[in-house]
């Protein structure tokens, strides 16, 4: 049974994540008015926001430690926030600044924070194999770290996912696969791309446990993830979880969503996991003023991160040439055996 302090933590993370996406949307659209030009404004390029996905990141990552690995897809912000990624440096990265997580080289789809073992990738399902690799490393080193791969429901038809399920299962790797089902793979409703209604059924083909959380609810996701992460941490192998979330915004900013029925979008906006969690808090006797203080703290944290990020310097153009290798070829020098022999004499 989840305790009230954990409920409170999840609530604050979810409010942070929601406010973050709403504020990034504003910043992104700034400079793209009146005509939308994807390369204009303070945040250029594609931007995939996760408003409506918050319960998944918060409910799962509540069970994770810094030494546990998370791989996220192209819609990563809510997961990064729940995993404890440095919010200021992540925001600076999204604004393409020198002090960003990747010095401005990665952008919002390619966030890396090794301090908390978080990474994401813009190619569908491609975070699954690295997650099982992290699980393999944990197993070989006899640690109790686990790895969690997040992916969208559109990714469950990818070879990288299916191959990873099999390899994780046969080697009993400490991995949890979390499928975030928001009903839409860009313009594709899932019933048009797979005959499987419940993505967790994919687990059966690989003989590993699978479960689906049908309601967009942080506590239900928390409970399911507790079991799955616990199983991995105890050395009992992988789990496939599918969780229902909602896509409150377009696939990417600028997506006209002309393929999406109005009522579907309206319904997504009504099923608000954050409001649901606020009700849970009230049911636990938490005062409205305390909830409101949480909201304010979360908003303030987001505003501080954005303000800080926008204040950071842009990278030097010449920096583009660095970081291709950790050990750049130009820096390689031949070792001198004679130096080693005499080295100890000094």
């Amino acid at each position: 049974m989840v305790g009230v302090s954990e409920l409170h933590e999840m609530y604050e993370e979810m409010v942070t994540a929601r406010h973050y996406e709403e504020r990034l949307q504003e910043e992104y659209l700034d400079g793209k008015q009146p005509a939308f030009d994807i390369s204009a404004g303070p945040i250029p390029g594609e931007l995939h926001l996760a408003a409506g996905h918050e319960a998944s990141g918060a409910g799962v990552c509540q069970h994770l430690r810094d030494d546990d690995t998370v791989t996220a897809p192209h819609r990563p912000h809510h997961i990064a926030i729940a995993k404890g990624v440095d919010l200021k440096r992540m925001t600076a990265e999204i604004f393409g600044r020198e002090t960003g997580l990747s010095k401005g080289k990665g952008g919002h789809m390619h966030l890396f924070d090794p301090d908390v073992n978080f990474a994401c990738s813009g190619i569908i399902a491609e975070g699954c194999p690295p997650a099982i690799g992290a699980g393999l490393a944990a197993k070989k080193r006899n640690t109790d770290s686990v790895a969690v791969a997040f992916l969208g429901e559109g990714a469950i038809d990818q070879g990288a996912f299916l191959e990873s399920l099999n390899m994780a299962a046969v080697h009993d790797l400490p991995v949890v696969f979390v499928v975030e089902d928001n009903d839409w793979a860009i313009s594709m409703p899932k019933e048009r791309v797979t005959d499987v209604e419940n993505g967790a059924q994919r687990a059966g083909g690989f003989d590993l446990p699978g479960a689906r959380v049908d309601v967009d609810d942080a506590v239900s996701i928390y409970d399911a993830a507790k079991e799955a992460v616990g199983r991995a941490r105890d050395g009992n192998g992988p789990t496939l979880l599918e969780v229902q979330v909602h896509r409150r915004m377009g696939h990417f900013m600028g997506d006209p969503e002309s393929y999406r029925p109005d009522e579907d979008k309206a319904a997504a906006e009504q099923r608000d996991s954050i409001e649901r969690l606020a009700e849970d808090l009230r049911a636990h006797g938490v005062e409205d003023t305390t909830i409101q203080e949480s909201r304010e703290r979360a908003h303030e944290r987001v505003e501080e991160a954005i303000e800080w990020a926008k204040d950071q310097p842009e990278p030097d153009p010449a920096d583009a040439h660095d970081d291709v290798f950790s050990n750049p070829p130009s820096g390689v020098t031949e070792s001198d055996p004679s130096a080693e022999v005499t080295g100890g004499d000094d």
């Binding site: 990265e93 569908i124 313009s187």
Partner: protein
């Protein structure tokens, strides 16, 4: 050739964006031939993220404009199989950067089956993909990679730079009995949310017409320096040539239009005239298009070469932040500088 000139005259009647021209060719071929169909992610109801199939669903329905699962290995391989069964599928990779997901089907099946079968099997399919950067989409969504496809034997590689070429090359691609990789630059398509430069929107004949593969187009005649390029950089090179004209440097701009087959004759003839070669490319510098063009000229016309310059993406992944992306993707100034440098030599 006379036929092409006649077509160009009709073209003055209306102008189209590159995406409309592509779609017109696909629609025409689908009307003429029931064996042609299109598969890809978000190609039906959405109409292609980059408008590559915009409007086709209305005319042809979901059976022939097929949205597919996010399973590149499966649907590209399915196109190979359907092509070998005699159909003429078009499969779209949303971004060329995603080729890695289904690459075995592309280079070990699509590209090799004709050869491995001793010519008894043919693979008449088109693989389309969006290429290119300039809008800060970072390392996994901004590459061109046409040099990679051109390097591996067995694929014809097409890179249109205008609406006129896009339509003619698409007709040819669908009718060709071999696999054709058709790479369209996002920045040239004329998408509402990604403004194109002025050049790619051109007059396009309503009737069908083909542009033979392996025929480069001399976009601008000049006496001093030969600039060989393709895709978006045709337009950047033309802009550079205009500014260089003010400095009395007369650049000749050649649009390759296809990499496989490669029209080396047109390039060599130009270099024989100018003696100076600048190759401009949005792909990576090493082991790619620029090196290949220089080598092909040097092999047969070394004596003609007085100066060589390469302008390409340095060997780094495409960075996200604007100042760094601007640094690595060649712009008009980079091209003008290279031409000046070649001209001084």
């Amino acid at each position: 050739m006379a036929q092409q000139e006649e077509s160009e005259q009709q073209a003055t009647e209306r102008s189209l964006t590159m995406s409309r021209a592509m779609v017109e060719a696909i629609a025409h071929e689908m009307r003429e031939n029931d064996e042609v169909f299109y598969m890809g992610e978000d190609v039906a109801d959405y109409g292609g993220i980059f408008d590559s199939t915009d409007g086709l669903l209305d005319e042809f329905g979901h059976d022939r404009i097929m949205d597919v699962p996010i399973s590149e290995t499966a649907y590209i391989g399915a196109a190979v199989g359907a092509a070998q069964a005699g159909m003429r599928p078009i499969a779209e990779l949303m971004f060329v950067d995603f080729f890695g997901v289904g690459m075995d089907q592309i280079y070990n099946q699509m590209a090799k089956n004709t050869y491995m079968s001793g010519g008894s099997v043919s693979v008449p399919m088109v693989l389309t993909a969006a290429v290119g950067g300039t809008y800060n989409d970072a390392a996994q969504h901004s590459q061109t990679l046409y040099g990679t496809f051109a390097h591996l034997p067995g694929m014809k590689v097409v890179v249109p730079s205008t609406a006129y070429d896009a339509k003619g090359l698409m007709h040819n691609a669908i009718r060709d009995d071999d696999p054709v990789v058709y790479l369209f630059h996002k920045r040239l398509m004329g998408i509402g949310w990604m403004p194109a430069p002025d050049g790619p929107k051109t007059g396009v004949p309503k009737d069908d017409y083909t542009i033979p593969f392996g025929s480069a187009d001399v976009k601008r005649e000049g006496e001093d320096v030969t600039v060989v390029t393709l895709g978006l950089h045709v337009h950047r090179a033309l802009d550079a040539a205009e500014s260089l004209a003010d400095e009395d440097i007369d650049a000749e701009i050649i649009d390759l239009r296809t990499l496989v087959p490669l029209d080396t004759d047109t390039v060599r003839e130009s270099v024989a005239k100018t003696g100076r070669l600048v190759v401009v490319d949005e792909d990576y510098r090493s082991f790619g298009v620029t090196g290949e063009i220089v080598a092909s000229v040097a092999e047969d016309g070394l004596a003609d070469l007085e100066a060589v310059e390469r302008v390409a993406v340095p060997d780094v992944p495409i960075p996200y932040a604007r100042p760094m992306e601007d640094e690595v993707i060649p712009d008009t100034d980079d091209i003008a500088d290279a031409v000046r440098s070649a001209h001084r030599t």
